[in-house]
Subunit: 267 residues, 2 copies
């Protein structure tokens, strides 16, 4: 359900494309969530204190194959005692804050569910391995007797991708979605395009995004499905999306996909 | 109340100083909390969803003079609706994650309390100005009709400074404590000392910290009250603290204080 902000007066507007454009596919909310989880090992846990007050605390996490976060917390800490008493919890995972960026432009996801101890030795070993793979420093304390592993069984997922981009995902979609394998290379790829291939970006804006009057274009984001462009025209600035012919599956596949896209734009 | 982790076997140990050392003053938990708040405009809010589940979400904040966080959230978002229904909330503010660092070594603080709308026009204007000073981008939406300002009346403060460093602070201490004015310059100052003044650090370790057998020393942190050192001796490595004669009050005062400390170490 999308509702507009209750804005006094008119909101900002962007010029429409001059020719039909094929809008590229975007990552789903479930894929965005899995990508955020794969990109860090730090989040914020919300639990219930003994008086019912919500309690926010820093946690490290790994994840099971279905994306369930695996925490390792001490009962000497308030959040550990909270989980022992009440399994209800949520975890916020956010894009790493770049101090130059508007923080509300950052992607983030809340995963809410019930925190459970792994049931049985096999489940414990899987959870332990998942946590250690993401948090190597935990090898120091993971076997301390006051530390416990907890698996958050995710029931509700709310993703926010920045201003005006947000959606919920079902637990089933989340469990089966794939993290974008190109995410670790995306920022570098976008910077490279903007620095060295401004002409290719303008060609994409003109022939693929329908902005035949594009004067300049920059890449604001790139992912396995395509590019987000910020296009300057004599009619004003507009955001647009151009998609790859096929999703990129290799971590280092953005370069070849972008070269192919530039070739398509010019042919 | 400090309790030890329940560790199988012996924990690590460090060699003691060979001569009496004057341990420098450290920031209090209240000062650490105020310093963390002053260092960022992004935190995680924990609120209660309509079914009582704790809900973690990203928020931007400014702060009143007494350190009360000022949030600006939309009722279109779940956390905004949660605050309308139940004032109980907490905010986690953490040191910016450096991907090279062990995340559990990061400083963080949880502020728990009740979120209240500013009462009256004057209080609203003060809260609005405090939020905008920290979050300039909020000027776009702060007056949207679905956005509201909330002041978190802080009742409980729990600070964690990394492994083994943690403490609570009273609301009164928090409200009157000062953020460390040197914090924005600290990382650069420590790096400079380690790169260009290794000899001065060894002199401090030998004559001020009591490690007369120090072979090398590096600065792991610096603040308005002094330096944390990591000292290498033939007996093993040890952490130590050396304090300035007076707290630094100027944002750029670390250099002069460190020069004076090095002079004292050598005289």
């Amino acid at each position: 359900v999308a509702r507009d902000h209750d804005v006094p007066g008119d909101g900002p507007s962007a010029p429409p494309p001059l020719a039909p454009a094929t809008h590229g596919r975007r990552r789903t909310a479930a894929e965005e969530a899995r990508t955020l989880l794969a990109g860090t090992n730090v989040g914020t846990l919300a639990t219930l204190s003994d008086d019912g007050h919500p309690w926010a605390s820093l946690v490290t996490f790994g994840a099971l194959q279905d994306g369930s976060p695996v925490l390792c917390v001490s009962t000497l800490a308030e959040h550990g005692r909270n989980l022992e008493r009440d399994a209800r919890a949520s975890v916020l995972v956010a894009e790493t804050a770049d101090p130059r960026r508007d923080p509300l432009g950052l992607g983030r996801v809340t995963l809410a569910g019930l925190a459970r101890r792994p049931a049985g030795d096999a489940a414990h070993d899987v959870a332990r391995a998942a946590h250690l793979a993401a948090v190597p420093a935990a090898s120091i304390y993971v076997d301390f007797r006051d530390f416990s592993l907890w698996v958050l069984q995710v029931g509700r997922i709310r993703w926010v991708g920045g201003y005006g981009r947000m959606d919920s995902a079902t637990a089933a979609d989340y469990a089966t979605a794939e993290a974008d394998p190109t995410a670790p290379a995306a920022a570098g790829a976008a910077a490279h395009l903007n620095e060295d291939h401004a002409d290719a970006l303008v060609a994409m804006a003109r022939s693929l995004a329908g902005y035949s009057d594009a004067a300049r274009a920059s890449c604001t984001a790139i992912d396995r499905y395509g590019l987000d462009l910020d296009i300057e025209t004599p009619r004003g600035r507009a955001p647009a999306r151009v998609g790859f012919a096929e999703p990129v599956t290799a971590p280092l596949g953005l370069r070849a996909a972008t070269v192919a896209l530039a070739h398509r734009a010019r042919s």
